[in-house]
Symmetry: C2
Subunit: 419 residues, 2 copies
């Protein structure tokens, strides 16, 4: 009776597919994710992640974690509760300056905020660990549930009031060492989007840089539902934001205006150079080789984890449902037993389920074939294994590729080689 | 220069040990965790988890996850933001009834709460998935960051305003199937505390049951810093809370009052039977085999993950620092190179570091031996490997057990057999 091994029989999965998404849900990504039982809508812009959805989220986090570790990042987790006085230091407590705060109060009346960003507390904390040039560089990152009091939330999990973000912070001696980690992170980000299936659609994008640098960089994924408009140079694989699209910038990038395409896109990542300014405001200094006190150079590097999941759904879904790229899919295989009441077939399918271990979702339900095929298309696992009336006798298993619809016939032995 | 492989060189770890904990920190667990760089105190009862601390937290979560999966639990993650109207249904929105809410408001003025518990939203969500007896049982759990507006927070990570809890919810047909998962979870909990090193000190405890059942059950770990007083029957391995310590209950449990010891303890887990009452309030019903509509039987099962980490620190620490049980320790081995400027020794230690992979923290710092030993005792990794002046020539590696101080001399080959 118990689901005992981390693998999953669909008959025991507590979620079910639904024919209809909630009427107030207008975003395709959330409609499909809700219908397939991946997420639950708690309220506008606020979604719970159910077993299948959580598996996707954890797969995306795993990819990001591996690439952040590869550039020297060290994982930690900051707090949601935020000190008012800290954010007042940088003048980002005031609602006039930051309009997405959720705020509450402790029982003694002291105001407290809920983290929508974490540059301030991490930089403040680093004062305990950074004092000398010997302590640099330091790269820290987290996967944090951010809370943002957005006025509107109509894009499903692509713009939430509660969402998961990976944010990394780099602390370096100077602009030269900053550039090392900044460039390494650009490369890591491109690898992440590649592994998440969005490599060909995602472009390094020049955006305005604020007070300290000419540019910041975003990563924009082309999408008809994107809220941003960017100007794309396909050949050079870069894009430019409207705000920095000037003749001067074009000349600097050696790009002609007529080579650019205007496209809709979603911002899936951003990287930012704060220089020494925020450290100076917050009092994070180091003493260099010559004994001089210098503000620490700060960079910040974000990826919207839940947003990325939403973009993946929007990008690959077809009229039958979702289509997951293999590295982020909740399972690699979806095993459908079309004869759940035939003993020999059940024995055959059960054995395959056991052999495939944690890579398979097993539709062992006592349900019609049509329902199983429909749910399988909706859920969008990359490879569908169909066990039907001839399978046991012939040892010919049907393997269908969700993305292309390609069908192959394989023996059990051949199939196991693909696991 | 980069930390590239998930393993860890101490010279690159961004945290450092500290001689002193913050003056306002009175709890031993937080003092040690802060001094060793495992956690950072953001404010009273609110702690960030730094790389070493996060590893411990993830190890505890792994143990709990394995045992929850083993009883049939399916992992998901609910939201922090909570709907007022839902909690009004069960009369738990009112501050007079629940005094730990943090509340805020959306931009349109609608009040919103921050999750301090999740029975209501999970039970409400289950209405999408449970309608028939065929949909039962369903067991769902999460690791959630709970926010509670506690008046006081003086116990370090043992009672936080922001803390991690594992909460599981069981939905069953009736009291009989409820008892199956309830009993299975008791066994799973005892196994979890055993694996976390607290098996001998943790006791199933009878507490008051509320409106639907005679008892609820807690798991209490004996500790001089415990806030609870319980009455322990060591031989029968059960304890009784003061609130249910009556002649009637003693008779029922076949225990004599004079066999009980009064002890201080910390509640590390609790399990609770709601019967059909909460489902009835929230409208979660199923149709049974005879077509009758029946409220779903709800059980809830909590373990304070961060609290458990605090109790482990309090229980095993000695005057030199922390002492981690092996399954929750951030690393199994702490490799100390006492000659970081001797080329042959560095080569030897580096090779060992590479061979031990993800199980080792490597103190490769250019620091004095005394500092390395002191930090190693404070950090409390179970096995210390010391590479000193004779190690390379003799191939005799010193292995010291943190808990007992036992020292062994092993060849590299013998050491690798212990990895």
């Amino acid at each position: 009776m118990f689901y005992t091994d981390g693998t999953m029989r669909q008959s025991q999965l507590f979620t079910k597919t639904r024919r209809e998404a909630p009427k107030d849900e207008t975003a395709k990504n959330a409609q499909l994710l809700i219908r397939a039982g991946f997420v639950h809508k708690e309220m506008a812009g606020v979604y719970a992640y159910l077993p299948l959805g959580l598996r996707v989220l954890e797969n995306i986090k795993r990819i990001v974690r591996e690439e952040m570790n590869a550039v020297g990042g060290q994982e930690m987790i900051m707090t949601s509760l935020q000190r008012k006085e800290l954010w007042e230091t940088t003048d980002r407590w005031n609602d006039a300056n930051v309009d997405v705060w959720f705020k509450s109060a402790f029982k003694n009346g002291t105001e407290v905020g809920f983290g929508w960003s974490h540059e301030e507390p991490i930089t403040d904390m680093m004062k305990h660990f950074i004092g000398s040039y010997r302590d640099l560089p330091a790269y820290a990152y987290q996967f944090q549930t951010k809370l943002r009091n957005e006025l509107r939330a109509k894009s499903g999990i692509m713009r939430g009031r509660e969402f998961v973000m990976k944010d990394m912070y780099s602390y370096t001696k100077d602009a030269v060492s900053h550039k090392e980690i900044y460039d390494a992170t650009i490369t890591a980000y491109l690898k992440i989007f590649e592994r998440a299936g969005l490599g060909e659609l995602t472009f390094l994008t020049f955006a305005s840089g604020g007070a300290f640098t000419e540019f910041s960089h975003e990563f924009q994924t082309l999408s008809p539902v994107g809220e941003d408009t960017v100007y794309l140079h396909r050949e050079k694989k870069v894009a430019i934001n409207k705000e920095v699209l000037t003749d001067e910038v074009l000349e600097k990038l050696n790009i002609k205006r007529e080579e650019l395409e205007e496209v809709s896109a979603v911002e899936v990542g951003n990287i930012f150079d704060f220089g020494g300014a925020k450290s100076e405001q917050l009092g994070l200094f180091y003493v260099d080789e010559a004994g001089k006190k210098i503000p620490v150079h700060l960079g910040s590097y974000g990826i919207g984890i839940t947003r990325l999941m939403g973009v993946i759904v929007e990008t690959f879904a077809d009229d039958k449902g979702m289509v997951w790229p293999e590295e982020v899919a909740p399972f690699k295989f979806h095993l459908l037993n079309l004869l759940p009441n035939d003993e020999a077939t059940v024995t055959y399918a059960d054995a395959l389920y056991t052999a495939l271990g944690d890579t398979v979702l097993y539709d062992d339900r006592d349900a019609r074939a049509g329902e199983k095929f429909g749910d399988s298309d909706l859920i969008g696992i990359p490879w569908r294994i169909t066990i039907g009336k001839d399978t046991v006798a012939s040892d010919q298993i049907e393997l269908t590729h969700r993305a292309t619809g390609t069908v192959e016939k394989l023996t059990q032995e051949e199939l196991m080689k693909r696991a």
